[in-house]
């Protein structure tokens, strides 16, 4: 947790700067709006955290978010009665995609970078193959509520954060981080390394489903709703001081990383550095944050080490 302190300081600084630039931010409605906006990325970051801390990557979440929204729109097609069944289905899809990612990575021993890169192509291809290129149908009002009404989004965020923290404190979380730290030692202590990793991918898939529900609810159907979210989520996690390669970092810090990223965007917008230079600033900050963290990686572990 000690290594997470800088991210909280940076986040606090950014929040103060936003409040100074825009006092509305301090009003309940303003802050609620901010939370509502952060919620999807924060949840995705929490999901991505599980995968990264176990020593893997999940590049498929962006595509998965798009899939979730497009599937929801087509199946619900404006019919309120379909809301709940489809919500359940979306969760199942998220878990299922995670399951497949996890199984291909652990059982077929394909590096997760490649597995999820493939999944990214397959998911976005398949869903538009199904809908004929553009989203179809419409979301119901019941569905939209979760993303549109700040209270819901914040509530879901709170539940997600609490769940993530509890999971990381539970046996699952501790064995997961152990597997990411030293796969062999974990195995020889009886940890079902493959199984916890598969669970991690499923949690990531689940987080994409929830993020999809929030994003779809927030702004409606769109083909590019999930675009580049995977990189944003990974960036957020890394900003939180979590080490690529696994075994180190705290889930709350990863979520704080998402808050920091979103706060940074908000601040840059407030100061009119939107669009163009926003990316440059973001790039420099990511590199600086990781470099300043003094993270020393023994080797680039893009593939699961063999045991």
């Amino acid at each position: 947790m000690k290594r997470a302190i800088p991210i909280f300081l940076v986040l606090a600084g950014l929040l103060v700067a936003i409040a100074v630039a825009n006092p509305y931010f301090l009003e309940p409605a303003g802050f609620l709006g901010f939370l509502k906006r952060v919620a999807p990325l924060a949840i995705l970051a929490a999901g991505q955290y599980f995968v990264i801390v176990s020593g893997e990557f999940d590049l498929s979440v962006g595509s998965l978010v798009t899939v979730e929204v497009v599937v929801a729109a087509r199946l619900i097609d404006g019919d309120e009665a379909m809301t709940w069944p489809v919500l359940a289905l979306l969760i199942v899809i998220g878990l299922l995609v995670g399951l497949v990612n996890g199984l291909v990575t652990t059982k077929l021993r394909v590096p997760s970078f490649i597995t999820t890169l493939g999944a990214m192509l397959i998911l976005s291809g398949a869903v538009f193959l199904w809908t004929g290129g553009a989203p179809r149908g419409a979301l119901s009002q019941g569905f939209r509520v979760f993303g549109r009404e700040g209270v819901w989004a914040v509530l879901i965020l709170l539940v997600a954060v609490t769940a993530a923290v509890l999971l990381m404190r539970a046996d699952f979380g501790r064995t997961l981080i152990a597997a990411g730290d030293n796969e062999r030692a974990a195995r020889l202590s009886g940890v079902r390394v493959d199984r916890v990793r598969v669970f991690a991918f499923m949690l990531s898939g689940l987080s994409a489903a929830v993020a999809g529900i929030l994003l779809g609810g927030f702004a409606g159907v769109s083909a590019q709703v999930g675009q580049s979210l995977e990189f944003q989520a990974i960036t957020a996690v890394v900003l939180g001081g979590v080490v690529l390669g696994g075994g180190r970092g705290h889930v709350v810090a990863a979520i704080a990383g998402a808050f920091t990223l979103e706060a940074l965007f908000t601040l840059l917008n407030l100061h009119g550095i939107s669009g163009a230079l926003e990316y440059a600033v973001q790039g420099v900050i990511i590199i600086a944050a990781v470099a300043a963290g003094g993270l020393r990686l023994p080797a680039l572990r893009l593939s699961p080490s063999k045991v």
């Binding site: 021993r109 590199i287 990781v290 470099a291 893009l302």
Partner: protein, 317 residues
């Protein structure tokens, strides 16, 4: 068959030949035929990705990877086209400037990874974002003009072989030669195989990683020049539209180079790129829509790597 799968490079070429045969049959069944023009098309289509992927091979062999190539390609196309400004007399300057910019980006990638000890994924993603910011800030759309002389690079053919394909072949052979016949090449394998062993053997590992990144970026630069010559101008989205970052990594891995580094080579990458290009060409012939293509591409990449993983797995156990 077992012997074929035993070696990823051979496997990818076997897959390539099989794909060509199946593709031929499918296209014929569909009432079409592969023509000389399609072959030229495959070469043209694969040249830019091929050059980037050859560079990416170096980064991956050295145990790194480069996510910044796509934005670099866009940047280089613009720098080159603007420097040329439609004047043939500026070509040389433009090429030098463009390659200089590429080398600089590669240097930054390499230094951030080795000296600041930032994971290659984050380092090159960060550099990619920085380039993107610069591009968005400076350019609204296509800019510059490439003189006709330079456009020959993208359009001219010698017999049935496009100059672009010859350029690709030249880059591939050069890098193959580098890997096989130079100290740097040898050390790229060593560093990617085991940094500690290389370091203890007296290899200045940081320099090797930096050199690999500079070369990788130079390849991206060459691809940027090629695309500028094809487009007749520089374009701020040409690199990302082509998906050269992830696609080049996919092609390298498809060619049997281990993502962890130290194992593989250019020959496999060339096969991987050709395989993707032939698939593309067949899909084009059959007018399959692009979404289906993505699905097939994703499946092919994952299945290929799973097959290679089985092979190494058997050896390890």
């Amino acid at each position: 068959m077992i012997a074929l799968v035993a070696n990823p490079t051979r496997a990818v070429y076997a897959a390539l030949i099989a794909t060509l045969a199946i593709g031929w049959a499918l296209v014929a069944f569909d009432g079409g035929a592969f023509t000389l023009n399609d072959i030229v098309g495959i070469q043209q289509r694969s040249a830019a990705l091929g050059i980037v992927a050859v560079g990416q091979t170096l980064a991956i062999l050295a145990g790194s990877l480069d996510l910044s190539v796509a934005y670099l390609i866009s940047l280089v196309s613009l720098v080159a086209a603007e420097t040329m400004a439609g004047q043939s007399s500026n070509i040389l300057t433009a090429v030098v400037v463009a390659l200089g910019v590429s080398a600089l980006v590669g240097l930054v990638n390499g230094v951030v990874i080795t000296k600041l000890k930032v994971h290659a994924f984050i380092a090159t993603l960060g550099v990619a974002l920085v380039i993107r910011g610069v591009l968005d800030h400076l350019y609204d759309g296509p800019a510059g003009r490439v003189p006709v002389d330079f456009q020959q690079l993208g359009y001219a053919r010698i017999g049935p072989i496009p100059v672009a394909a010859i350029l690709w072949a030249a880059v591939a052979v050069a890098v193959w030669f580098l890997l096989r016949r130079t100290r740097l090449g040898n050390r790229i394998y060593a560093v990617g195989g085991d940094v500690e062993v290389a370091r203890l053997s007296g290899v200045r590992t940081d320099r090797v990683v930096i050199a690999a990144h500079v070369l990788c970026s130079l390849c991206a630069g060459v691809a940027g020049l090629l695309l500028a010559s094809r487009l007749g101008a520089g374009a701020p989205t040409v690199g990302t539209d082509g998906g050269y970052d992830l696609e080049s990594i996919a092609a390298v891995v498809l060619g049997g180079t281990a993502l962890a580094g130290g194992r593989g080579g250019v020959a496999g990458t060339v096969g991987g790129v050709l395989l993707l290009a032939v698939l593309d060409s067949i899909f084009n012939q059959l007018e399959v829509n692009s979404f289906f293509k993505d699905v097939v591409r994703g499946v092919v990449i994952v299945v290929a790597v799973a097959v290679y993983a089985r092979r190494t797995g058997r050896r390890a156990s």
